[in-house]
Every structure is written in structure tokens, then in C-alpha cells.
Subunit: 284 residues, 2 copies
């Protein structure tokens, strides 16, 4: 029987643990996350709202800094500088994508690395790849947490990562390498994807292609981690993995309630990490 990896349940556990930790805080101030939103993209608004809501659930303070779509680069950098200097703010994230006239790369570089809870600052990306302590981006971090919660052994396993994005594919490949997996990174230019999916012990599907993974192209007992999120023709949420694959798998993450909820839980965890660091520094 294939085992469903319940990201919703695990993220609830993680959140409950964070909530308990927040309650134990004896400092005069609580952890605080600042979320920067530029413009009125509906999807970005929903993401920001869900992050703010998750903070409220666990007792982390939050503040949304919302700017008009026509904010200048300088104005945005000034706003970030204020947040960097604000000692009551532990974590800062800028909701992406930004309007096209803004230089995303420069924006990321102007978030204090110590508050960069998304782990997108190049310095933190470098630390991740050098296996140094850093903020691990939330989605890859959530995937590893899920795999560990289900005691899936990655040592020496053939893991296929489909997708090479900065947000998921590349960082998850690094984390899997750190777990001693043999890692293959495939993408849109890969010539024979089926051959690779057939050979893999674990597949992390982050291609952004609905139902890319089909039951005839996987081996029995595979572990299926689905990072995709799409709406099918009936308006139902679904992933990069066709649900008909599940019965062939040993473990799989559903869509929704698989990897998705883990992402927000890990963002909260990173915010706690930023808080603990900042509090410690002020003690010294």
C-alpha cells in the first residue's frame, strides 16, 4: 500500500511546536515577520495573506508593507533599509515576482542576510551550497522535513529532481546531496526523461507541467514528491504527478496538502531561527 505523506498534518505539528515555543518566550518582544508586497497581483496577495494568517496562528507578529506597483527602486530599497534596521523585525520577505521595472536581484541583495528568512540573498544561497549554517529556502526545507518525518532513507538512493529553478530544483538538489543521495537534475532540455523517471528511487517533480509523471514511466515502489500545483479542467487542484501514479508508489505527496503546507510552516521556522539569533546577539 502506498503511503500518503501528509504535509498538512506535519505542517500542523510543526506549527503547534512553534506556537508552544512562542508561548515559552520570556523576552519582552515576540518574533516578528515583515512581508513586503508590491502591486496588486491577486496570486501574490493570496500568498501574503496566507503567510500573515500562519503567523497569527502561532503567535508570531507580522506586518505587511504594501506598496503601489509604481514604487521606484530607490523607494523600495529605502523601505528595506528601514526594516533591516528595525530591531523589532526578525524576518523580512519580499513577495515575488516584483513588477518588471524593479531590479529583483538588487532588491534581494538589500535584505539583511540575517533577516532573509526566504534564503534568497546570494550570500545565503552560497552558504547553502557550501554546507554552512543559513536560512534554507522554505519549499526545499519542507520537502526534506517531510521525507525525514516518514523515515525515508536517502543514503545512496537515486533521486531525480525535475526542474532547475533557483527556488526549488537547485536548492533541493543540494540538500539531497547532503543526505548522501545520488542526485540527477533533469529539466525541459533533457532528452530522455522517461528513462530517468523509470530508474529513479525518488522523484521530486518541480517541472510545472501538469501530470508530467505517468504510471507507465515510474518504477514500483518509487517515492513521489510533487511540487507542482495546477488546476485541472474541472477546476480541481492537482500536481506534476498524475494521481494514477500513487498506487505504484511506496510514498507520495498529494496535491493539495502535500508539499504546499510545509512551505509556510518552514517559513515560520526560519522566522523563529532569525528571532533566536537576534535575541542571542542582544544578550551578548
Amino acid at each position: 500500500m502506498a503511503i500518503l505523506m501528509d504535509g498538512k498534518a506535519l505542517s500542523d505539528q510543526v506549527k503547534a511546536a512553534i506556537q508552544a515555543d512562542v508561548l515559552k518566550i520570556t523576552e519582552t518582544r515576540k518574533p516578528k515577520l515583515a512581508v513586503v508586497l508590491v502591486g496588486d497581483d491577486p496570486a501574490s496577495q493570496i500568498y501574503v495573506q496566507s503567510k500573515i494568517k500562519a503567523c497569527q496562528q502561532v503567535g508570531i507578529e507580522s506586518v505587511a508593507k504594501v506598496f503601489d506597483a509604481d514604487i521606484t527602486q530607490i523607494e523600495l530599497l529605502v523601505a528595506l533599509k528601514r526594516l533591516n534596521q528595525d530591531t523589532t523585525v526578525d524576518g523580512i520577505l519580499v513577495q515575488l515576482p516584483l513588477p518588471k521595472h524593479l531590479d529583483e536581484q538588487e532588491v534581494m541583495l538589500n535584505i539583511s542576510p540575517e533577516k532573509d528568512v526566504d534564503g534568497f540573498h546570494p550570500l545565503n544561497v552560497g552558504r547553502l551550497h557550501l554546507r554552512q549554517a543559513t536560512f534554507v529556502p522554505a519549499t526545499p526545507k519542507g520537502i526534506i522535513a517531510l521525507i525525514k518525518a516518514y523515515n525515508i532513507d536517502l543514503e545512496g538512493k537515486d533521486v531525480l529532481v525535475i526542474g532547475r529553478s533557483n527556488l526549488v530544483g537547485r536548492p533541493i538538489a543540494q540538500l539531497l546531496l547532503n543526505e548522501n543521495a545520488t542526485v540527477t537534475i533533469a529539466h525541459s532540455r533533457t532528452q530522455d526523461l522517461k528513462q530517468l523517471t523509470k530508474a529513479a528511487d525518488v522523484i521530486v517533480a518541480a517541472a510545472g507541467v501538469m501530470h508530467l509523471i505517468q504510471p507507465d514511466t515510474i518504477k514500483a515502489g518509487v517515492v513521489l514528491i510533487d511540487v507542482g500545483i495546477h488546476r485541472d479542467s474541472n477546476g480541481k487542484l492537482t500536481g506534476d504527478v498524475a494521481p494514477s501514479c500513487y498506487e505504484k508508489a511506496s510514498y507520495y505527496t498529494p496535491v493539495p496538502k502535500g508539499v504546499g503546507p510545509m512551505t509556510i510552516a518552514m517559513l515560520l521556522k526560519n522566522t523563529m531561527q532569525a528571532y533566536q539569533r537576534q535575541v542571542k546577539q542582544h544578550e551578548v
Copy 2:
């Protein structure tokens, strides 16, 4: 017929082009590389000498800053600070490994990213992984240069990287991904390496195991890139690839005179890049 990829010849070409560029410089000052050496490890001394010599060959100025093995962390950081501030120094590299009482990670962090011609500063590592302009570490950069010089098409090819070091395995995997290869990273914990080597179109052997790659475990027409360097029982230099593999390959790098000479040529290239950037900044 297998084609030998002549790293010696290509590196000579690269160096000749750099030499010509240096001669064309109209600025009052020439490019300058500072090489920091701590202690008297014989291998490190040889590496430092060969880097200094290569600078001399092309007309790049160089200075070796040699410190006793018992230098303190603070003293070393102060020395680096001076080099960072010295506007006549374009590139700085610290020869690794450092004596064990020194914190290598902190040392790397204290080289100005703009002078970090080895590309080891976490900020530059992050930029590499984010596909931003940076100093690409010399060995992986040299491998890509060799592959391109021989017009080997990587698009969609199955490339196997053996080794996951910060210096070679991880960065070359990123560069190969950027060339649209499908990249597998194997290492000491990989369960069935032979199966992987048999399937690969290109193998980058950076395992540090003499003659790990044998003719019966590769497919005909494979491209063999050998990053290993060992002394065999006769005292002869050899690599991770058994020379008996060559006749089965389409292209291969010999040891010596393959990847090795490319590394130093790319260090010179990075130093020129640092110089051009610094000169440009002072113009503005």
C-alpha cells in the same frame, strides 16, 4: 579515433591572449594578484609558485604574502583587510588548506567579493548558483572552456559528475546545468556507480580515486574529463580515469596536461576580470 583535449595547448592560447591584453593596457598600473600563503606545506608552496610564475609569463603583477604557520586568525584578517583596501591589488587568493587553528570559513568571508578571484566567497558561490555574474572557480571554469574549445555539445546530454566537493563537483554541476545538460552527481555513497558511468554521455571524474573509471564501465563514444591527479606505482602522474579508457572515448583529457593547466589559465582570466572591473569603477 579518440580526440585528446589538449589543456596545455588551450591554456597557452588563453595565456597568450591575456598577455596581449595586458600589453594593450594604457592605464598607469597593471593588473595585480596577491597570493596569501600560510605555513610551509610543500604542495601549497609549489601551487603558489606556479601561480606567481604564470602571472609573470603574461605580465600580470603578483605578490606573495607568506605568513608563519602560527599566525593568529586576527593577524590574518588584518592582512586581508589591507589587501582588500589596497587599490593596486585586483585579485586576492588564499592558498588552501590553512593550518587547522585558523577558521577557513571566516577567512573566505573576509576577502572582498570584488577581489575574490578564486570564487570561494559565499556571496560569489551564491551568485554562481543563481546564474548571476561572478568569479567562477578556476577548475570548473577551465573544464567548460575546454569542452567549448572542442565544440562538444552538452545540450540535453547525460553528464555524470563524480565528486561533490565545493571546489569542483558542486560548481561544475551548476555550470553544466546552465549548458542545458542533464546532470547526475555521484559520490562515495553512490550505490551503483558502474550503472551510471555506463549510461553517461560525458563523465567528469573528480572523485580523487586513481583509475576509478575503467574501460568496461563506460560506453563507446563517451567524453572523459579527468580532474584527478595521482602518482602511480612508477611515480608517473595519472588521473581518476584509467588510460586504457581513452580508446573507447570520443574525447578525453589526459593527465597531466588536461584540466590542470586550464585551472591556472582561468585564475589569470579571473584576475583580468577583477582588474577591468576595478579600473572601470575608478573611471566612473
